[in-house]
Amino acid sequence: MSMPSLPLFLSQLFNGLATGLLLSLISAGLTIIYGTLGVLNLAHGALFMVGAYAGFMALQWTGSFAAAIVGGMLGALFVGLIMERVIVRFFYQRPPEDQILVTFGIGIVITELVRLSFGGIAKPIPVPSWGEGVTKLGLFFYPNYRIEMMVFVAAALLLLYLLLYRTRIGMIVRAGIEDSLMVNMLGINVYRVFLLVFGIGAMTAGFAGIVTAPILAVTPDMGEVFLVQCFVVIVIGGVGSFPGAIIGGIIAGEIVSMTSMFSPAYSQVMLFAVMAVLLAVRPQGLFGIEGRE
């Protein structure tokens, strides 16, 4: 095994951060919903996909990528809110297996509805004109769009952080994560907060879906791969923890990037290997609290 060259090492290090941040964002939506509502939303991947398709439609109508981003977020928000009001809210008090089954089922229904309306062949979303080309970062080149995507994703994570840690609503959400019964007793309508949280989670998934659409193929099952990786991220970071999702995402991105320099075929395997080791050593994850479900 030969040592990788310095440019290769640096480019993979940077790439790990870029792909990791994206995983952080998708996982953050998943983990906030789980932390607050106690529901592991297996339709999160489908909401990611809805964001990409809604963005695709907005792009078709307007020709503007900015409009596509807004359209993607609103599309996922809309579907997410309907999902919460019509089905998921009746499952808050049900056992976890019921919640998992119902959200898994919703995910399949959404995916198949999209397949029915749009077909299985990938929809093209080109990189916007301001994202074309590559930039030299010291010793290596990196696509402009991926750099810009990093900025978008980091900005979205910052917004989420401010919302959760610097606002009154955020305080209620975080209190809800700790003890929703107590929050309810203090006279706060937890269920309205739940709807809000579900909407925020759905919107982050939709946002991630549309900003990644130009680098992926937009197909009805595009969310599945991400959903699996997000589970690894939140297990590493600690289930229900917002900082855990961010750090877990970056760690996951770096594991895949670094391993691939030596053995591309094992990069995904390594991700699961690290998760397994962490589960054995620290079952609650890096930022998780021991004993909490």
């Binding site: 440019p7 290769l8 870029a18 299985g120 990938a122 093209p124 680098i215 595009m222 895949v256 075929a265």
Partner: protein
């Protein structure tokens, strides 16, 4: 159909095959619906597989298991459309059906072809489950469908054990008619070795001598096969191999592999990825600036690749294909297929639909020529290796490994300005006869088992 009979005999705890032997030999009354000719047919041959249980009614069942979800779903859906077209022509006994199978009248030996469709999810275990149901519950006389070679090989093994014909549709691995060849399985499409042998001289002519090649390879039997064959034929003409990046099937972000390729010093990128993986990896390669520095070659070009990446990215890209719709401009059978497909589906057929159509027609021909569904006799009919006139010219089956000896088409992406319509993505730059590209029989270690 006689599903009711089968349910009864399962309830009574009798083994199905014992029951079939009995029913075939003794109880003619149970076969009233089939009439005397069936009785005669059934009596001529010993029971084997689903014979004669699967042919007692007025129809025969064909099991279709293709990926309808996952990275190869677009190709799977296209295959279904190819099967349905062929079944319709055979059941109606049209002129097109008789062109492939001259003995055909309505249906197959007078029986209507019925079919079931299952989603194999591009997973061998799911495919095996679906096919077991087709064989056990529906008494399928033929099972077909694949986009992944891993699925085709698993399905081939199962059907061989069950003495049921299995016809893979897309399968690019050398192993399918090599070390994993099966007595009951026949492959009609081109594959790794024939593609690489047809393509290598064309790209050497076009790109020059002494090129360094980077490979992006799906990490399973298909990818390994194409990589090995491309490496063999390009190195034999003086090119070298810079790196081989193995990525799992269904990868969504290829950035790590592409960065390794960008730093490998290669000037040709051979992308072996297929289906959606091919689309994503090529788009990403473009974004990483790789396609400005390297020439892209797609040795096993996936159907719909052009539609999904767009003509801009495709111009000057070389690859091979099983079929391309412009063949209709030179061949009346191809014209009949393409225009009827287009009339029904509103678009041109991909090669996935074509090979599904071709396999079904060649099956009809074998059954009609053998005058029976008796599986070993049908297999023997295939193995005669007679010349067959098709829309890709004259072809024949090679008895030793069950590979169809057929042409391979080398294609090149057109400039967008040169396209005559929105589907006119490729020029066929070479049509290489099958006999010039077939591997020596012993090369991939095919050893066929017994037919009985």
């Amino acid at each position: 159909m006689n599903n009711d009979d089968d349910k009864k005999n399962q309830k009574s705890g009798m083994y199905r095959r014992d029951f079939l032997k009995l029913s075939a030999g003794v109880t003619g009354g149970m076969m009233l619906s089939g009439g005397l000719s069936q009785l005669a047919q059934a009596a001529d041959y010993p029971a084997i597989g689903n014979y004669p249980a699967g042919i007692k009614g007025s129809s025969v069942f064909m099991g279709i298991a293709v990926p309808r979800t996952g990275p190869y779903s677009a190709q799977g859906e296209d295959e279904i459309k190819g099967y349905l077209l062929a079944i319709d022509h055979i059941n109606k006994g049209t002129a097109l059906a008789r062109a492939y199978s001259p003995h055909s009248r309505k249906g197959l030996l007078g029986k209507k072809i019925e079919y079931g469709i299952a989603d194999n999810q591009t997973k061998p275990n799911v495919a095996v489950q679906a096919i077991s149901k087709f064989i056990g519950d529906n008494k399928a006389m033929m099972v077909t469908g694949s986009v992944s070679s891993a699925v085709a090989i698993a399905a081939g093994k199962l059907c061989d054990r069950e003495r049921t014909l299995y016809l893979p549709t897309i399968s690019g691995s050398n192993a399918t008619t090599g070390k994993d060849c099966q007595r009951y399985s026949f492959r009609a499409c081109h594959f790794a070795y024939t593609s690489a042998k047809a393509l290598a001289p064309v790209i050497k002519n076009a790109l020059g001598a002494g090129k360094k090649v980077a490979y992006l390879t799906p990490d399973y039997t298909y990818g390994h096969s194409v990589y090995n064959s491309m490496k063999q034929f390009t190195e034999a003409q003086g090119w070298s191999t810079a790196t081989n990046q193995l990525a799992p099937l269904g990868t969504s972000d290829f950035s790590t592999y592409l960065l390794n390729i960008a730093n490998s010093g290669a000037d040709v990128l051979v992308n072996i990825a297929f289906g959606r993986d091919a689309v994503i990896s090529t788009k990403q390669a473009k974004q990483f600036g790789l396609l400005d520095k390297m020439t892209l070659v797609m040795p096993y070009m996936a159907p719909f690749f052009a539609d999904e990446v767009g003509a801009d990215m495709l111009q000057g890209v070389y690859g091979t294909t099983e079929y391309w719709w412009t063949l209709a401009e030179h061949n009346h059978l191809a014209k009949a297929f393409v225009s009827d497909f287009e009339k029904r589906n509103g678009r041109k057929p991909g090669w996935s639909a074509h090979v599904a159509f071709l396999q079904t027609m060649l099956w009809a021909r074998a059954v009609e020529s053998a005058h029976t569904f008796h599986p070993p006799t049908v297999v023997a009919e295939y193995e005669k290796g007679n010349k067959i006139t098709t829309d890709i010219g004259d072809v024949h089956w090679r008895a030793e490994d069950h590979q169809l000896v057929r042409p391979v088409y080398v294609i090149r992406g057109k400039k967008p300005a040169a396209m005559r319509n929105k589907a006119d993505f490729y020029d066929i730059v070479d049509s290489v006869p099958g006999k010039d590209v077939m591997p020596p029989i012993e090369l991939f270690g095919c050893k066929l088992g017994s037919a009985t």
